[in-house]
Symmetry: C2
Subunit: 235 residues, 2 copies
């Protein structure tokens, strides 16, 4: 593991084998980070998906509890008690659904979105700049080859000057794209740490919030209500 | 809505049109209850499924957080901090997974199983006894028809006696099956109330338990840890 922080921009113009070798280390790191980020995103989306499904499932359950009243049972004796109890449970499930919905939204905003943003912005930028740098390097190599194949005769001076200009232009282009590419790779190293931890901070804060509100909600009247319903059932 | 509690067993033998009419009311009620129970079970199974998926999703996320260390990043500078933070988060997700798993088990045992049991035992019993009662009634009708078609001549006395025995046997059989069927229908009315409320008591108790443990778990060290990680990220 090389003890370097970043690719030095002043090395970009010379483009030495040492610099190229260091560049390949940064590229490998970016590749590993891209793979890992995709897997992490997938795992986080699965958690988000489960949370979302819980919202839908509690919504359906609440509706189903209310639907008891509308069944038009042929024998309705004693049903008032069941209806009012199921109404109460439906409200409980609704309140729970509010908490689940809030958590789902929070997971989307503070866990899934930041990592999608990191992938779409930072990682995609690196990959785009890599392609541009590759193209510019190729162009530069081609113009160099063209220049070196020129005959040494004096009468070719004019052609030589022109190809020389081409080489210089290609080098400027390559230099510029390497500067941008190096910057993006350096920035990625800087962003990496935050990008890995930020979504989990969002996850944990969402859970803290969820459990706090849930504990408050259920501690209120639930215990006494539940024991009265349990009595009713055992009667 | 008839103001009756139950089918009177002493009416079963006479099998009057009034009793048949009351029976059909009980049957209609049982049919409505069967439909509603199936829908409620479906809604409850969806909640259980979402809870189960949350267990699997948190398990995968925890593993993925630990996997960061094993990525062999080409550039590992500053990674110790990321690794130890992700390890901590992985532990948090593991603890959360324990709570989710416990809730899933509780929902299975105290919400889904009781209503499955109600369907498989009580509702299926009624439906089976209905079929048996139908068969016995048919047999009785057939033997009655056979008896009524017998010629009135004196020399048929022996055949008459035999068919008469058949009718008596069929009536006994029908009487017995109607007694069982009436009992099951009466029991269903009694069980209905409990069967509807019991799963939701299980649901609510599971949630109370879940939020209580979750709030305890997250209130402990999480807040100070999170702010230190947030500081780290903003550094």
């Amino acid at each position: 593991m090389p003890a370097v922080d970043k690719l030095l921009l002043e090395e970009a113009l010379q483009d030495s084998p040492q610099t190229r070798s260091l560049l390949s280390v940064f590229e490998e790191d970016a590749g590993t980070l891209t793979d890992y980020t995709n897997q992490l995103l997938q795992a986080m989306q699965r958690v988000y998906g489960a949370q979302n499904e819980m919202c839908l499932a509690t919504q359906q359950l609440s509706k189903q509890l209310l639907a008891y009243e509308k069944q038009n049972f042929a024998l309705g004796k004693g049903d008032e008690e069941v209806i009012s109890t199921l109404h109460y449970f439906s409200k409980v499930v609704d309140e729970l659904n509010v908490l689940h919905t809030e958590l789902a939204k929070q997971l989307a905003d503070t866990m899934v979105l930041p990592i999608i943003h990191f992938r779409e912005k930072d990682l995609t930028e690196v990959s785009t700049l890599k392609d541009l740098f590759g193209l510019a390097s190729n162009e530069h190599d081609l113009s160099m080859a063209k220049y070196s194949r020129l005959p040494k005769k004096k009468e070719n001076e004019k052609v030589k000057t022109e190809v020389g200009k081409e080489v210089a232009a290609a080098r400027r282009k390559q230099h510029l794209s390497s500067l941008q590419y190096y910057c993006a790779l350096n920035a990625l190293q800087y962003r990496k740490r935050v990008a890995m931890m930020e979504p989990m901070i969002g996850f944990a804060q969402g859970q803290i919030n969820f459990f706090k509100k849930g504990a408050e909600m259920f501690s209120k009247h639930m215990d006494s209500f539940l024991s009265s319903v349990a009595d009713m059932v055992e009667r």
